[in-house]
């Protein structure tokens, strides 16, 4: 119950203010179609650089939680998921809105997100210290494989093609070697002095997630002029009905927790799997897709229940549970905090305050979410041109503010535009970013392993022997096989259709 010792830290004036700003901002960003939680967190990282680690993490955590829930607003009102995690919400949320029950659907969305979110954070609170103690037993070879595992998982799950995903991951790892070698101090691949410090992670994060999104927004340019009516609906009635849907809430929350714990899986999978499960066990199967509240309740409780558990492997091993958690890892590293047991010893105060703030964020998300959902119609109709211009200017100033270096802006824009064209060919940003973030961890541990191995039986034996090494290697192989099977299954389905 160590977390209780730091609970009061959340309620300082500064922390609460940041938490409220993060939650409200996250809800509005989430409601805007095209602004994913990953992009929102990436855009905010430069601002947290100037904050204390505690406040920076509170801001990022609140935005992560709120954008996932806020994404349901445009999913329900416009049939455009605000985030990939809300894809399943569209299926019954939009039909409910068409029937004139948009407010009711939004009520279910935020109440279910709250229930799922609280369960997910409780799992984070109780599981993380246990897994962190296991991480104490890890040596350089294990940490090397853990970093590789993180990249393979994201590469296989967040990509349409496993080969492209793995290539992107390897490219990210290679880009991370630019600059000085952390163990030997040798300068590498510095073709221009601006790269002597390596590629700035924040510039890469902002560029890879924000600019391609802006380009595709301008290219597609959706018309958001649908008209919809907001009915009058009692919140008390919605709450009573929502909490009575115990089966949907339980299935959603449990599915979200399990999927969140699997590194790399993310909210999209959590929402879709729980929707599928509730549909299978429901007595009203025929109502699904036509505005069945259980569909919204299961999907939304699942995608928010995923948030907490997705941070368990991140905080203990450095392996993110979702692409947004991968970006959050960048937020941890810029404050000099490395995942692992140290987070619960040296940085215990910061870590527990951050985790506790996520729990408080769920309550704020419920309160503000229910209020904002009524005003959301104004936010979601923000014209694409204003949104594109604002994101671009924020990305440029945000990137520059970190090191006051124009080269970072150049790198950010170059990577962003390149990523847009790469995305046209099926490449995704998450494996590259994770490669960049985990690259130094992988290489440092590889170099340390080599130094130790040179006094023993050689590097191959050192890296591949022992039960823990073999377990992590097997997990890497399993994640690749899983990715392959999923790809083959998807291609077979496409052919059949």
């Amino acid at each position: 119950m160590e977390f209780l010792n730091y609970f009061s830290n959340v309620f300082t004036f500064g922390n609460i203010l940041i938490l409220i700003l993060g939650t409200v901002g996250g809800l509005l960003l989430g409601a805007a179609p095209g602004l994913s939680p990953t992009m929102a967190v990436a855009l905010l990282i430069p601002f947290t650089f100037k904050m204390s680690p505690e406040q920076g993490l509170i801001m990022l955590g609140a935005v992560y939680t709120a954008t996932v829930a806020g994404g349901a607003i445009s999913a329900i009102l416009l049939k455009i998921p605000g985030a990939p995690a809300n894809i399943a919400t569209v299926m019954d949320g939009y039909p409910m809105a068409q029937k004139g029950k948009s407010k009711e659907a939004l009520h279910y969305c935020f109440i279910s997100s709250f229930v799922g979110g609280v369960i997910g954070i409780l799992v984070l609170i109780f599981f993380t210290p246990l897994l962190a103690n296991v991480a104490l037993k890890f040596g350089p070879s294990h940490m090397f494989w853990i970093a590789i595992f993180g990249v393979t998982v994201i590469a296989t799950l967040d990509s349409n093609s496993i080969i492209k995903g793995l290539f992107s991951g390897a490219l990210g790892l290679w880009l991370a070697t630019i600059g000085y070698d952390s163990v030997l101090g040798v300068e590498r691949f510095v073709f221009n002095p601006i790269f002597s410090g390596g590629i700035n992670i924040i510039a890469a994060l902002v560029g890879l997630f924000a600019i391609p999104q802006v380009l595709s927004m301008l290219e597609k340019k959706q018309d958001l002029s649908d008209q919809f009516q907001m009915e009058k609906k009692s919140l008390f009635q919605s709450m009573k009905y929502n909490l009575s849907r115990f089966k949907a809430l339980t299935i959603g929350s449990i599915t979200g927790v399990i999927i969140g714990l699997i590194p790399g899986a993310g909210g999209q999978i959590a929402g879709l799997v729980s929707y599928d499960q509730i549909k299978k066990v429901s007595k009203n199967k025929e109502n699904f897709g036509k505005g069945e509240p259980d569909g919204i309740i299961a999907a939304e409780s699942a995608n928010n229940a995923m948030v907490g558990p997705s941070l368990v492997p991140l905080l203990t091993l450095g392996v993110p549970g979702s692409p947004t958690a991968a970006v959050l890892l960048g937020g941890l590293l810029i404050h000099g905090m490395f995942p692992g047991p140290n987070l619960f010893t040296i940085y215990a105060e910061t870590t527990w305050t951050f985790i506790n703030s996520l729990l408080v964020a769920q309550f704020l998300m419920l309160i503000f979410g229910l209020y904002i959902s009524g005003l959301a119609k104004y936010v979601i109709k923000t014209p694409v041109n204003y949104m594109a211009a604002a994101i671009t200017i924020l990305a440029i100033f945000g990137t520059y503010s970190v090191q006051h270096n124009f080269a970072d802006v150049m790198v950010m824009l170059f990577l962003g535009v390149s990523m847009f064209f790469l995305s046209k060919f099926g490449f995704t940003a998450a494996p590259i970013v994770l490669g960049l973030i985990l690259g130094p961890i992988a290489e440092t541990n590889f170099s340390q392993a080599k130094i130790i191995a040179d006094t023993q039986n050689g590097i191959f034996d050192y890296l591949t022997m022992g039960p823990l090494n073999l377990t992590i290697i097997s997990l890497c192989i399993l994640s690749i096989i899983y990715g392959l099977l999923t790809e083959i299954k998807k291609k077979t389905n496409d052919k059949d259709q």
Partner: protein, 145 residues
């Protein structure tokens, strides 16, 4: 709208892998290059596999990019890269904001142009307050701002 054959992306990826491998293997014998050498080898193998799969795969091999639509935006970014330090961030940001708002706007009447100016002004005041006053960021400037 330009149509790009996916083969060009596969070839580009292969060329990129070969270039990175060349940089890694010509770096010298220092142990600092072992990790990049390993990675570039993996990248070459993956890009070869990608090339093989391209010919094996019978799916859609063409992708489209509406380059005409995006050219103004890409040009604005280029403008910022070339003149960012010379003309100052705030001046160029105002210019880029106005360009993007105007070009990608559905309506181009006097009223919408007035709104574009108003929104640009409000947004830039927010940016100035956030970065120059709150975060004390000394962005490159031009004349008054």
């Amino acid at each position: 709208m330009i149509k790009i054959n996916k083969l060009s992306s596969v070839v580009l990826v292969l060329i990129l892998s070969i270039l990175l491998a060349y940089a890694s293997f010509s770096g010298g014998t220092s142990e600092a290059y072992i990790f990049p050498k390993l990675l570039s080898t993996v990248m070459i193998i993956l890009s070869f596999l990608s090339l093989v799969l391209y010919f094996y795969n019978k799916n859609e091999k063409i992708t489209e990019v509406d380059i005409k639509k995006l050219s103004i935006y890409l040009g604005s970014l280029l403008l910022f890269l070339v003149f960012g330090e010379l003309l100052g961030f705030y001046f160029l940001a105002v210019l880029i904001f106005l360009i993007i708002c105007y070009v990608y706007s559905e309506k181009k009447n006097k009223k919408s142009i007035f709104y574009n100016f108003l929104i640009t002004l409000c947004f830039m005041i927010f940016i100035y307050f956030l970065f120059a006053i709150l975060l004390k960021v000394q962005a490159p400037r031009f004349f008054l701002f």
